[in-house]
């Protein structure tokens, strides 16, 4: 077994929370390997389509490969069937692919999938490297989860507005800046709702 792959990276911070009719997702922008930082402007939140956000942590070889594979298959589905996959179907499709790959050639990627569907409304799915899937109100991946889950436990409630959600994200970033060893100067924040996907300033 490739010992390099056995070490699971947890340096990327990906977090997300559900609000009233939207899902807000944030990620740090550092792209690094060992002690070297490649970039501080890496966008880890992929816009899968105009109603879904895919936040991924892990080495880019796996995250890029996996997300592109999923996205192209989703486009193929849309062309063949004249309809988009729902967030629920997408999450389970991803999980199935990850689970199949798990005992063949695993993808080292943690996922947060946030989406808005006309019928189901806002939904957020948490999938980890072992392809465990849970539908959640908020989620975090990486070392950051040790710090931020308690922030969410305290601050999250049903029906947050965009401003309130942004406040919670600010609290998360502040917590990391205080207590997390790895300095993550930049964060990117995106929101998905009935009107599509947009960028939000911290």
């Amino acid at each position: 077994e490739n010992s390099k792959r056995a070490i699971i990276q947890k340096m990327d911070t990906i977090l997300a929370l559900k609000g009233d009719g939207f899902v807000m997702m944030a990620a740090d922008c550092s792209s690094a390997r060992s002690i070297l930082v490649f970039s501080q402007t890496q966008d880890k939140i992929k816009v899968l389509d105009d109603s879904k956000l895919l936040g991924q942590s892990g080495p880019q070889c796996d995250t890029a490969n996996f997300s592109e594979y999923i996205q192209k298959n989703m486009t193929l589905y849309e062309l063949n069937n004249n309809m988009k996959l729902s967030t629920h179907a997408t999450a389970h499709y991803m999980r199935r692919e990850l689970a199949t790959a798990l005992r063949k050639g695993p993808y080292q990627t943690n996922i947060l999938l946030g989406g808005y569907d006309e019928k189901a409304g806002e939904s957020l799915y948490f999938i980890d490297v072992y392809s465990a899937l849970v539908k959640v109100n908020f989620g975090v991946h990486g070392h950051a989860s040790n710090f931020l889950l308690s922030v969410f436990d305290r601050e999250w409630k049903e029906g947050l507005s965009v401003d309130q959600a942004l406040d919670v994200v600010r609290k998360c970033v502040a917590e990391l800046r205080t207590r997390f060893l790895i300095a993550q100067p930049n964060f990117i924040i995106k929101v998905v709702d009935a009107n599509g996907v947009r960028l939000v300033e911290l």
Binding site: N81, M83, L85, S86, H88, A89, H92, Y93, R96, K119
Partner: protein, 249 residues
Amino acid sequence: MARRYDSSTTTFSPDGRLHQVEYAIEAINNAGTAVGILAKDGIVLAGEKNKPSNLLAPSKGPEKMYKIDDHLTTVVAGLTADANILINNARINAQRYIYTYQEPMPVEQLVEKVCNYKQAYTQYGGLRPFGVSFLFAGWDEYHGYQLYMSDPSGNYSGWKATCIGQNNQAGKNLLKNDYEENLTIDAAMKLAVKVLVKSMDATTASADKLEFCIMTTDGDKVIQRIVPEADVTKILEEVALETASEGDM
């Protein structure tokens, strides 16, 4: 004179036809009639059972109706042995979809999958086409109630009401005249009975020769019900009464 080009499915005739496919479609015109009708809040499927001998053991379940999945069912007209292969194929495809997406397969996608499978037998392999036509009835959250007809060529089309099998032309004419949009399930059932009575060989239609399946929903849950023989008898009587007094001024 077209005989030279008949035997192989994978050859066009000089006048651009696939004779084997056309012959397969002909084979179905000898089979028991099946009819499907879209109602306002459901779908009615009905079929004429073939009873070649009194020595035949009574069937344990429906003869022409097959459940593909909880939200999808089909009526068959044609070679039963061929139909079994395709129904198995349809069921596997339906479960494969749930396996991947954790959602019931949209009806048209399932129909297309079965039809693409049928089409292969009209283009490669040197094997004969399937001698079956289907009426697929299903409900999904994207398009509601849907009724599709597919034939041995691998073509399919969506219908509000149609019939296949013996005397289907007579049945279609009746539907053309009597079908209205937004029928209730009961009205659709009566119309289905009328169609079958018209297309059946025997002069007297009886409940033991007919099969009915009603598809409705309760919220997001689809309910499929095979109508018990006693209820079919009742509807037959009601329809007989109505037709008897139809010509009265």
